[in-house]
Amino acid sequence: MFQVFHGVNVDWLGKRRIFIGLSIALMLAGMGTALYRHKFHPHGTDAFNLGVDFKGGTVVTVRFKNPPTAEQIRAAIDQAGIKDAVIQPVLDRAGEFLIRLPQQAQTQAADPNQAGVDIGRAVVRRALNRFGSETSGDLNSDPNASYKIEGTDAVSAVASAQLRTQAIAVTIAALIGMLIFIAFRFEWTYGAAAVIAVFHTVLVTLGLFSIFQIEINLTVIAALLTLVGFDVNDSIVIFDRIRENRKLYRRMSLYDVTNLSINQTLSRTVITSGLVFLSVIALVLLGGETLRPFSLALLMGIVFGTYDTIAVAGPIMVWWERKLEAANRRAVAAMATSPHARGRGQTSRKEMPSRAARV
């Protein structure tokens, strides 16, 4: 049998201060950067680098006499200094292309939309002059011209502000759903710990997007939703093992059981995350520019999603359970001394009496 991580015995919880410290530092760095950029706009940046989906831009309609390929046009526009242009050939009109540019730098014009449109048109003209000159009259009758810009229109953002707020709202709703279900299958503390861990990963990922100014588009939102599901899987696998081990090793403390469970499931954690990591890294390296923001979001989500189960969910759960145990022990003690208080100390927590006895 060829295997990794057999018989590991690491005191993961013993390193909780370092883990939690690192997580808090990462979250603060990300949120700090976002706030700083939001307030002071260094180098014209904003809290997040929102893509065309969120920003709107300009659509330029061009007709060519001898049409180049979409790739050649893209290369020309790239050279003119515009990234993320979308080139769409018009199939039912020969030689026509739609060139969609993200919003260009805002000037202090009366109508910022119009200013953006004019800049967009100028950029496209500069880029397309590689293919010949633009006609001022009719393309077909002008022997020297090779293309004509037939229209320039501003377009608004594809993703409405409504969709943005909805994405945030439903993510929170989904987290609450998870919290309730995990609480039902395990304990409230387990649910809370898992959800805090997921939330932490989303925040860290968004923070890194702000720090490195990676473009956020609609696919990034989809990636974030995906990694919420992936992340919580890890926590549940470990919680499941904790539940099982608590029945097996009744004398062991929660601290030790948690360490044991993390170690026992470590090979699974590493293999699964490693495999997903492999396929995502293939996307990051070879998937091309278009998929990069999406695959980077997934990559970060997988790295931090794996990390947070051991570093965040475990320690929070153990800390919380210990606090509850201490409170419960006091309640049991109070119950023993005063017979009138019977019933008050009983709560709905399923394993309470045995847990108190074990500590």
């Binding site: 199939l91 998870m178 293999i271 995502v280 278009t290």
Partner: protein, 569 residues
């Protein structure tokens, strides 16, 4: 016992696999030919079965214009009617009221006693939105009170109408189920244009028609002697206007509308002589309407009579609308009420008793048009008609090279996963890979059944789902290894491994299904689609990674007989 369950399991798996493969590569809608099973034939069927998104294949590019001038015109006319009624209700004598909509938008009220203009103005503005801060500037000339809509108010109102139209179109296109469209405003603020790109779909004309459907619903009081007298109708419009005795003009509180019975059915089969289209009649109705489509809570198509192919629309009203409607119907028993759709009277009925929140539109619709109409009614009426300005067929928004590298990277990721499983788990790795491939086929089959649209990030997402699906196999295999290490026999290690891992797998899957349920309930459009895909992937995974893998193990162990000595894992 074992043998029988193995047989049973094999049959179930075989059926699911065959159905899955057929959905993916089978020709839908006709019998398969032999040449469908050649590589090029499979490629061609795949292309028709799977809807590719705008980024991979392109689609239609539509520019529509919201006719905001119609919206402003209607607004002015409604205000004129309301102003006249308000003045009358307050006890003032109004000679005439009308709306001027050529050039500027004006509400003109002619008072019988000009000295009371100030009081009339006050009474009107108390009830009708004609105040300065709503964008109406007030002036008087002679005995006329004039409210003029200012230029800036025109722009704001027109802009809001366009935004509203955009939202309604978005709701409709999501309800129709066109996946992954892009919808945005185009041109300058004053252009009121909307740009829609949608991936290639079956029937673009039908979608276009539905998007532009006005669906302006009103319930009105028909001017007629009450039941049991028949409804007062007129053969021509002129006749109807003449009945109003106002010198050939239609006063602001009346409307003359066409009333066409059985139009829909007659159009559908023109040769059906037993049910010829009755000629258009005209009726006079009161203005403003009792309530309009904004008060709708829901609308759905329902079969008119059992077994017939005539459909009606049943609707229910919101609380506010139901209150208004209940009060009105209570006070007007035996009067005639008309259901007006897009300025055409669809049906007229007399009020038998007080009605609160339920209603019906009897138009003898076909199933298709009843469904379409119900959908557009639910999404709300467009504030103004929509006009298609330009229409193009566009190619993919991603370049061929971007698509190639994205697909290649996705396939490489898949290959890496398969390779690792084979090396790390050896014999059992084959088991996992079989489960994986089946997972992928079923996943794609599911996407086809749900009519999902595949985009490049979607392809990457499927590969990611595969990576996550491997998790179930890893959990099971790692657990079997653990059980083996603790000295169990192979059959019991497999048994225990599956048993323990199964609890974990159910917990992880159900957690994600629960959270997807929240996404589905609270989300809309793309978020819902995402939730459906996620749940689909999880269910498929439970089947392939747990059920199929387990069956393969049972088969392996039963083949080796009772004394199994080695398991390649």
């Amino acid at each position: 016992m074992k043998k029988r369950s193995l047989l049973q399991r094999s049959i179930i798996i075989a059926i699911v696999t065959i159905v899955g493969v057929y959905i993916v590569i089978g020709h839908h809608g006709r019998r398969p030919h032999l040449k469908d099973f050649t590589p090029s034939g499979i490629k061609a069927t795949l292309a028709t079965n799977i809807n590719l998104g705008l980024d991979l294949k392109g689609g239609s590019h539509l520019v529509m214009r919201v006719k905001v001038e119609d919206y402003l015109k209607r607004l002015t006319e409604d205000s004129a009617t309301a102003a006249q009624n308000a003045a009358k209700d307050a006890g003032f004598d109004v000679k005439e009221a009308h709306a001027e909509t050529a050039g500027d938008y004006r509400v003109v009220l002619q008072a019988a006693d000009p000295s009371k203009a100030k009081d009339i103005r006050e009474a009107v503005q108390k009830k009708v939105e004609l105040a300065e801060n709503a964008g109406w500037s007030y002036s008087t000339s002679g005995d006329k009170l004039v409210w003029t809509l200012t230029g800036s108010a025109q722009r704001t109102l027109a802009d809001n109408a366009t935004e509203q139209a955009l939202k309604i179109i978005e709701t409709r296109i999501n309800a129709i189920g066109v996946a992954e469209p892009t919808l945005q405003r185009r041109g300058a603020q004053t252009a009121h244009e909307i740009l829609l790109q949608m991936p290639g779909i079956q029937d673009p004309e039908h979608v276009k028609q539905m998007l532009a459907g006005q669906s302006h619903l009103e319930l009105v009081h028909v001017v007629s002697p009450p039941s049991p007298s028949p409804i007062q109708t007129y053969a021509t419009k002129e006749e109807a206007i003449a009945s109003l005795n106002s010198g050939g003009n239609i006063p602001a509180n009346r409307r003359v509308l066409p009333y066409i019975e059985r139009a829909e059915l007659a159009n559908r089969n023109a040769q059906d002589q037993t049910n010829p289209q009755k000629p258009t009649k005209w009726v006079v109705v009161e203005s403003p309407a009792i309530i309009d489509g904004a008060e709708l809570r829901s609308a759905s198509a329902a079969q008119g009579r059992a077994g017939s192919d005539e459909y009606d629309i049943q609707f229910s009203l919101k609380k506010s609308g139901a209150d208004k409607f209940g009060t009105w119907t209570g006070a007007n028993i035996n009067e005639y009420m008309g259901v007006v759709l897009n300025d055409e009277v669809k049906s007229i009925a007399f009020i038998k008793s007080q009605i609160f929140d339920q209603g019906e539109i009897n138009g003898n619709f076909s199933k298709q048009s009843a469904d379409d109409l119900a959908l557009t009614l639910r999404s709300g009426a467009l504030p103004a008609p929509i006009q298609y300005q330009e229409e193009r067929t566009v190619g993919p928004s991603l370049g061929a090279d971007s698509i190639r590298s994205g697909v290649r990277a996705s396939l490489l990721g898949l290959a890496l996963v398969v390779l690792f499983m084979l090396i790390y788990y050896r014999g059992s790795g084959i088991n996992a890979v079989v489960a994986l491939l089946l997972n992928m086929v079923l996943m794609i089959a599911g996407l086809i059944v749900f009519g999902a649209t595949l985009t490049l990030p979607g392809i990457a997402g499927i590969i990611l789902t595969i990576g996550m699906a491997v998790d179930s196999n890893v959990l099971i295999f790692e657990r079997i290894r653990e059980e083996l290490r603790s000295g169990k026999t192979i059959p019991s290690a497999v048994e225990q491994g599956f048993g323990h891992a199964f609890i974990t797998i159910i917990d992880t899957h159900v957690t994600t299904i629960v959270s997807s349920l929240f996404l589905y309930v609270f989300g809309a459009g793309p978020i819902r689609g995402f939730a459906v895909t996620l749940v689909l992937g999880l269910l498929v995974n439970l089947f392939s990674a747990v059920y199929v893998s387990r069956t393969i193990f049972i088969w392996l162990l039963s083949r080796k007989g009772k004394r199994v000595e080695s398991l390649s894992i």
